[in-house]
């Protein structure tokens, strides 16, 4: 399977993630779509690493996964803290800083 098919699938998954981030109101669903975007980038890295026969792409996938795990931990803790204050997870209702 030539490489452009993998890159196209990764691009489609990334666009689906972008669509989800722009469209949904639930903060946790937005987070899930961000995870989908990160996974699409991971697929791009692994596909290109296979294409140029260089393992550096897979090492970078490691680091992307580590950063994604750390980001999910902190982000979900933030959402829980916000929920305790405002009793909502919908991002259009969290508008205290709106002028």
């Amino acid at each position: 399977m030539s490489i452009e098919y993998y890159l196209i699938v990764a691009a489609i998954l990334f666009s689906i993630g972008v669509l989800g981030v722009l469209t949904r109101r639930n903060a946790i669903i937005i987070f899930l779509c961000i995870e989908l975007m990160l996974n699409a980038v991971n697929l791009t890295f692994v596909a290109l690493s296979n294409h140029v026969q260089n393992l550096d792409g897979q090492v970078f996938v490691f680091f992307v996964m580590i950063v994604a795990a750390a980001e999910v931990a902190v982000g979900l803790a933030l959402i829980v803290a916000i929920f305790r204050q405002k009793e909502t997870v919908y991002v259009d209702e969290i508008n205290l800083m709106k002028w």
Binding site: I3, L36, N39, V46, N54, Q58, V67, A81
Partner: protein, 176 residues
Amino acid sequence: MLEPILFFALAVIAIAAGIGMIVHRNPVYSVLLLIITLFSLAGFYVLLNATFVAAVHMIVYAGAIMVLFLFVIMLLDLREESDRFTLKKFSRVLAFIAAIIFLGEAFLLVDMAISDGGLAIGMGAQTAQVGDTPALGKLLFTKYLLPFEIASVLLLVAIVGAVILAKRELLPKQAG
């Protein structure tokens, strides 16, 4: 002969589950559909001869991160959303158009990269079997040792930050 069939099956499953994830109202179903996408992505990694990355991907993403999502959704006791994902609101139409434009840009970039032959850059020294676990480990501990150690510090910081952010109340101030 098997590889194109497997590739297209995994691609259809991944994209269908992705679209289902952003459309579905119940957040638990969205998490489960993303887990299906992650499974198919692990299948892609195996097809690309990156078996260790596939295993770590399953363990970290589907085994830890998605479970954390489910914990938080059930802790916050989220119900289904009240509005369906239809394209009636103008902002959703705009978001859809933006996503289509972005997809077109991504296709254009892929086409440019393929046709100009610019993808043969940086042929590394490891022309041995790609995805070999000892080779990956050797690379991680020699060339990428500093990012590896910094990643461990990052995880520690994330743990401390998550605990502090999710604490129920701060410690009471000492009198006097």
